[in-house]
Point group: C2
Chain length 484, copies 2
């Protein structure tokens, strides 16, 4: 696929500030920004980060072309020398990121950008747009897949997605979050992921009789034959006609490895149980019953509780828009300035709201696993240079309640640093895995969480603690601020 | 801008059905599909339709290239002759549409596609994606702009939009819905709409002192100088420092035509009143007070009720995602088949849910205005060939309550057909107006509604009635269905 130039996909104020840095000759001052978020979407217990591949593409394709410069000039805001300077713009900094598909928690830097402020500031908006969107949908999909208890979930939301990209990259993110496939053909082509779909009501309506529509479909696609049975009357017409056609298929000796029905309206619990009984009685115990009707994770969980006999779920609008929580609150905040002599000046953003105070300094995220169970015990946000030793006792203090302590015995835990280098001095040093590998990795990631953290409602909250050094730095900076 | 090939932006089932039509030799059967919706988003009293320009681009750029055919072949679902046939695919039908920016109501065809079923079926998903997205955001923006009571509203949501397109086209739709500008530079470039923005907290934090940051900014952008005053302490530091800088600007004799402050946190009602008083006391009665902090139409209306002294509103996440209702329920349903002899066979989709029964036949939408006030009285969904005469009395029966009647005297009303030709025999016959013209048109459109229909909560419901002939057709078809 050809890469899009999204250079002007930014907020105007990034460019006005850049002119400011340029004019004040501070444009080359090195800074570190963190991209992180403050709370999980949908009151979930975690998020699945996603979008890094597209973020990398964006960075690599940054380029102010003639049309861009001409357009900016037309705004009567920018000076000629600044616009000329923009022509030579490229990203020269370092980016560390948590790989896509990783389970992440609030306050953890998902990306850490170290670059001249001119560049680090500029990339803020598009990075947030890309990471926010895909992390949102990957997380929502993980919830839906969880509710389906092992049944495959298909992403069907393109027609209600917020524009083409929301459909394309939303489907990618949904696959990362655990969906088995998508109806979106372009996503299938771009990311080599399974595509899925059979027919709509209009197919049935284009024939005089429902059974003719089913017969014609079965003849064409005997190996993937899911018949939509609710165009006229699900139990009186649709299911009996489907069974007749399955009988005909069997008589012809077709393989019938993937066949069944789809319900798209009505009481899915009732209809699926009745349909199951009818299919079983006719000898089609392996016929799939799929459903797709304004579903979300709560409805699926409820249908499961009611004993609905659905084995394949098509989820559209509510997943592709994350309808209960349609935005992921990723933000991008200055964490440090780096002086020429190598000195690091940590930066903190103060707020009246204590939850909005940022963590200063160049940081990393260290995940702590229980050695025996391989489950996550906690995450530590630490300063970059800090070292931890698995052969020593580790004491963790809860971030907002330092009197709460977890003491881990030496050799009872393992550690893993989550941020990996993606760009060094503007050069890409990371290869994005293909989407299906990311999906497999995300599944492994979810296996590292105890079930309590994955509950759809009221999940257990993962401990994300500050290292002693980071905590001390933050306290000192807050104390100095108070004294001013 | 280069046009994107979105040919594979579709649901797989469109292609499996197309192979079915092709194999059954029904692919050239002419059909009519309606794109319409069943209820207004956000419980609003109307919607603003948008996205037609991009829908037209999509249709014009449809083209299965070698890579597309190769990909489809790799799915092992499609036969070679069908794939070869796809290579020659182009849209050859007619499309009628309601122009962008028009006020529309549930059940009205926003697009009417007449084409061979092979083509009409294929374009469903992308048309819905595009029209659903932009109509959603245009409608949401109209609500936000309404709440601002004449103050300009700026679209600031790119970083939280659901991917790049949601930001780009969402901002376009927000402008159509009434926003004065957007922070999104790419949207500004692509659609020649005003872009806006000054600086962020990081600008202030990159200086040792807040006042230095303000001074540097004012020096660079004296003609558009909105200073963000909440980085440290709005009333103790931000506003006093802004006033000092305004004093310096005045002393230097700068024009000061567009200057002021921005609040981005805290109690906006309280802070804006205090800031207003401080600015006024310093002689800056025309200084703008802008605000941007998780706003939506309800919060803005509430701030207005509290007497907040905000005169410019920046609205991000909640508008760009339409957070309370993040999808627009546009659907695409078969309305008729056209036989070779010219006979029209109306089609109806039956549902257990009476609200989901479709309106059969080839239809048009006739808007009825009161001649004296020029306000909309009602809309009529009628059959295409029906004629109405303004010189005759007009009797309208409420759609779901035929006993409710509106009688309009001859010459007391005027009529307007909303659907206009966009494609004829595959040729584009419509020029999209530029975005700012659509915005101006949408404003005129909103002026044709009484205030009661524009209330944010519990609006009056516009009467959308069926013509007698359409009503009779529908009843007859339902009656025939019942007898089967």
């Amino acid at each position: 696929m050809e890469k899009r130039n999204l250079t002007l996909l930014t907020d105007l104020y990034q460019l006005t500030m850049m002119q400011g840095y340029y004019k004040n000759d501070t444009n080359n001052h090195e800074v570190v920004f963190d991209l992180f978020y403050r709370s999980n979407p949908s009151k979930n217990g975690y998020a699945i980060c996603a979008g890094l591949e597209q973020a990398i593409d964006y960075i690599q394709n940054l380029n102010f072309n003639d049309a861009d410069i001409k357009y900016l000039d037309s705004l009567n805001l920018f000076q000629k020398d600044f616009l000329e300077y923009l022509r030579g713009f490229r990203f020269t900094g370092d980016i560390y990121a948590i790989p896509e598909g990783t389970v992440v928690f609030p306050m953890e830097p998902l990306l850490r950008v170290k670059a001249p402020i001119f560049e680090a500031q500029f990339v803020e908006t598009a990075l947030l747009n890309i990471i926010n969107h895909q992390s949102l949908i990957a997380t929502k999909a993980a919830r839906v897949v969880k509710a389906a208890e092992g049944d495959p979930v298909l992403e069907f939301g393109l027609r209600r997605a917020q524009g083409p990209d929301a459909g394309i990259y939303g489907a990618r993110a949904a696959i990362i979050g655990g969906c088995a496939g998508t109806s979106n053909v372009l996503t299938g082509q771009m990311f080599d992921v399974p595509v899925s779909g059979t027919h709509a009501h209009s197919w049935v309506m284009s024939f005089d009789e429902e059974i003719e529509a089913f017969r014609a479909y079965a003849k064409l696609f005997p190996e993937k034959c899911i018949l939509l049975v609710d165009t006229y009357d699900t139990l009186e017409s649709g299911v009996p006609n489907a069974i007749k056609v399955f009988d005909e298929m069997k008589k012809e000796g077709l393989p019938m490895t993937f066949y069944g029905i789809r319900l798209d309206s009505g009481d899915l619990a009732y209809l699926s149980k009745k349909a199951r009984a009818m299919l079983d009685a006719a000898g089609y115990k392996d016929a799939i019953i799929s459903a797709s009707c304004d579903l979300d994770e709560m409805l699926i969980a409820d249908l499961k509780r009611q004993g609905a006999q659905i084995t394949l779920w098509g989820v559209g609008t509510n997943m592709i828009t994350s309808s209960d929580c349609p935005s992921f609150g990723g933000i991008y905040k200055l964490a440090a300035e780096l002086h020429k002599d190598g000195e690091e000046i940590p930066k903190i953003k103060i707020s009246d709201n204590p939850e909005k105070v940022t963590n200063p300094g160049v940081k990393k995220v260290v995940r702590v696993y229980d050695k025996a169970t391989k489950k996550v015990t906690a995450d530590i946000i630490a300063l970059e240079h800090e070292q931890f030793n698995e052969e020593e006792e580790l004491i963790l203090y809860a971030a907002n309640a330092r009197w709460k302590k977890i003491k881990l015995r030496a050799n009872s835990y393992t550690l893993r640093e989550l941020l990996v280098p993606v760009f060094k001095a503007g050069q890409k040093v990371y290869e994005s895995p293909n989407t299906m590998s990311i999906k497999a990795y995300a599944k492994e990631e979810l296996d590292t969480l105890w079930e309590e953290y994955k509950r759809l409602v009221n999940p257990q909250i993962m401990q994300v603690v500050l290292s002693d050094k980071l905590y001390a730095l933050r306290e000192k900076m807050l104390e100095n601020y108070k004294r001013d």
